[in-house]
């Protein structure tokens, strides 16, 4: 297989960089909100200027969960395709269009939230009603991401036509899987926003079917987290091996894992709705079983990664049971940051299994355990891998280099993040097991021993959160250095190659009709009957409520 790397034109680099600029501005704003939340919840600090806790909570969730992730991923994926299959002038224009549509949507939603007209949190559950501009903003972000997806599909299609009979480059294949999943999943939230929320927020529809909005949201909400995770997997499978001086473990296994992730990420949304009253428990259980199927590709991923580490180490001559492990490039931040991310996925994944375990879910549902969980998975595994990518991607795009000094700062950043997150996430997990709720301003409730214990853990979270914010400042500093000030030079874009004696990849793995068809079949199986039930047995709809979120 040819793994010839294409060179970015100036225009291309500029495009990929604008996505990175939005990413790191979001990191700073969203991170600051996170810090403020932990301080408020310690009970020792009050927000100035009458700012409401739930406004900053909404900003935090939307800007980190939707804006940072989506901009980073789409920019990174464009660069992956640019490296492996190339981008035409026309596609470049379409990519810019996707950027602007998403940015306009983001700004619309952000302004609505900041003036206090959309304190509905990142899940915007009906019948809380935000200002219509919030829903329009979300719609633009989704539509912009679809333009990016169609452009990505087109990029691979054009390459395939020019390279008949050849298998697609692995990373291009992975990007296509992730965007296919994104499009199929976001149809759910787009339906809710366009057909239910917008007419209702404008007053054209009097009532809204609450359970249906939630079901459509979670049909999207779970694949959303896989949309964050898959780019991290791309780096683990196809980039980290190159950084440590090794080769791909197996092209076919990597593709198979991504196909399984596509199939089993979507028909599983009910595991976020396990304690809801209006869904048949048998269908909940069926989706729980489907949820657990993603454990298999995750086990495959874990095996492949550690196999690559060992094979590479042994080839370099390191002996003994763990000799290869000690000699991994621990002082290279491009490796260290994603590696810590991988480690965090072990407790993160185990916690996820608990969350999705049908009846066991009621132990932790909506407690701050869940917040602790996704600060391990999203805010450690995914984000540390994204940082790990940024250390070489940003200088590659700006024609600069990651200097030894910046590398050391990066290592320090990774350590700060690990320490801060260990403190914050662990105390969230424990407080959650003791029943402490998530998404709540500081409160002493009815007082008593139970609540006093919760508040102690909230103090620990404020300490962890403050350490994390130092990490954020440091990361933003490193970004600015890499973008504007680091010495000029060439930074490698690391893409791992296959072994020279690798077995050929089975053709069936690239049969898109088959895999997308199976994905849709699974979705129809998991959702058709329960959604018909929900619609048929729906209670009278809900009128809007905007006063509870402070709108007059």
């Amino acid at each position: 297989m040819s793994t010839k790397q294409l060179t970015f034109s100036k225009q291309e680099s500029t495009l990929y960089m604008v996505f990175m600029h939005v990413t790191f501005v979001s990191l700073l704003i969203g991170g600051l909100m996170g810090l403020l939340q932990t301080l408020v919840r310690s009970g020792k600090y009050t927000l100035p200027f009458n700012i409401d806790y739930y406004t900053i909570l909404t900003v935090h969730g939307v800007i980190l969960g939707l804006v940072l992730t989506t901009f980073f991923i789409i920019g990174f994926q464009f660069s992956l395709l640019g490296k492996t299959v190339g981008i035409s002038k026309k596609q470049l224009r379409a990519a810019w269009l996707s950027f602007w549509v998403m940015l306009v949507g983001t700004v619309m939603a952000a302004i609505t939230i900041l003036i206090g007209e959309a304190s509905v949190l990142f899940t915007f559950y009906a019948p809380l009603q935000a200002h219509p501009a919030f829903y329009f903003g979300l719609a633009f972000v989704i539509i912009g991401s679809w333009i990016a997806a169609i452009t990505n599909f087109r990029q691979l299609y054009v390459w395939k036509k020019a390279n008949k009979g050849q298998k697609s480059p692995l990373l291009a294949f992975m990007v296509t899987i992730n965007m296919a999943m994104w499009v199929i999943a976001s149809l759910g939230v787009a339906t809710a926003v366009l057909i239910q929320f917008i007419p209702w927020s404008l007053g054209y529809a009097e009532t809204i079917n609450v359970l249906l909005t939630r079901t459509l949201f979670w049909y999207f909400g779970h694949p959303l987290v896989y949309f964050w995770l898959l780019p991290a997997y791309m780096a683990w499978y196809a980039i980290i091996p190159k950084i440590i001086g090794g080769k791909l473990f197996s092209d076919s296994l990597a593709r198979l894992a991504f196909i399984l992730l596509l199939m089993f990420s979507i028909p599983v949304g009910f595991h976020h709705q396990l304690t809801e009253p209006g869904i048949d428990p048998t269908w909940k259980f069926i989706q729980v079983v489907l949820t657990f199927m993603v454990i298999i590709p995750s086990l495959m991923t874990a095996f492949s990664i550690f196999a690559t580490f060992e094979i590479t180490g042994r080839r370099k001559g390191y002996r003994g049971v763990f000799g290869w492990f000690r000699k991994l490039p621990w002082k290279d931040v491009r490796f260290l940051a994603p590696f810590i991310g991988m480690l965090a996925f072990i407790p993160g994944g185990a916690g996820g299994i608990i969350n999705a375990s049908h009846q066991m879910n009621s132990l932790i549902h909506n407690t701050i355990w869940v917040t602790g969980h996704f600060h391990l998975t999203a805010a450690t595994t995914v984000i540390l891998t994204f940082f790990g990518i940024a250390y070489w991607l940003i200088p590659h795009l700006t024609g600069r280099t990651l200097t030894a000094k910046l590398n050391r700062l990066g290592i320090l950043q990774t350590i700060i993040w690990t320490v801060g997150m260990t403190i914050m996430s662990t105390s969230m997990h424990i407080q959650g097991l003791l029943g402490g709720p998530r998404r709540s301003n500081f409160s002493e409730y009815a007082g008593g021993e139970q609540v006093a214990t919760w508040i102690n853990y909230q103090l620990a979270q404020a300490i962890g959160g403050s350490i994390l914010f130092i990490g954020i400042i440091l990361m933003v500093y490193i970004f600015i250095q890499l973008a504007f000030f680091a010495p000029r030079g060439h930074e490698e874009y690391p893409i791992a190659e296959e072994e020279s004696d690798a077995l050929p990849t089975p053709k069936v793995l690239e049969n898109w009709y088959l895999w997308v068809g199976l994905t849709i079949a699974l979705i129809l199986f998991a959702y058709t009957i329960p959604v018909i039930d929900i619609i048929k047995h729906s209670p009278p709809g809900s009128v809007p409520f905007s006063w509870p979120i402070g709108r007059s």
Binding site: V288, N366, G448, I549
Partner: protein, 166 residues
């Protein structure tokens, strides 16, 4: 497709544990009846009083037979209505003897709320148009905080109550 021998062992072991785990969950859910709450009973959110359990005089704790209780609750932003006591004062604490079997029955008259009795298995979403129910045996003495654990607006953290097991 080629799988490494160790990878086969790893995947067989992993998938095997997964199957055992799912069988345990399934057995507990379908044979032991530990499904999460799902009653699929609907109600008009603008007229919840049409249901007897949610009329003002029926809210709060009722003993239905020896050691068996029902608690009817109406959630609204930002309060749990647990009825009034014999003096006409608002009830904020439910008191039940240790070992009682208690059925919590709740609905909302406005937005989505949560209902968790922290430290017990009682943890439900409360959604407009639906009735949420969960029955449990309260085996431990103590004071347990009732918290709203689904965001319901800017007073969300002020929505609470207490269950006291004596």
């Amino acid at each position: 497709m080629h799988f490494h021998k160790y990878e086969k062992i790893w995947l067989i072991f992993g998938s095997g544990s997964l199957i055992v785990f799912l069988m345990v969950l399934g057995f507990a859910a379908f044979w032991k009846g530990t499904h999460p709450q799902s009653h699929i009973e609907t109600i008009d959110p603008q007229n919840i009083e049409a249901h007897e359990a949610f009329q003002a005089e029926n809210l709060g704790l009722h003993e239905v037979e020896d050691g068996k209780y029902i608690v009817n609750i109406v959630a609204s932003a930002f309060n749990y209505d647990l009825g009034k006591d014999e003096n006409g004062d608002i009830v904020k604490t439910i008191r039940v003897p240790k070992g009682s079997s208690v059925l919590f029955q709740i609905t909302t008259r406005d937005v989505v709320h949560g209902f968790q009795v922290a430290g017990t298995n009682v943890n439900m979403m409360v959604e407009p148009g639906h009735i949420s129910r969960f029955e449990t045996v309260l085996k431990n003495n103590g004071e347990f905080t009732i918290v709203c654990n689904e965001y319901c607006g800017i007073g969300h953290h002020l929505m609470f109550g207490t269950v006291e097991v004596y």
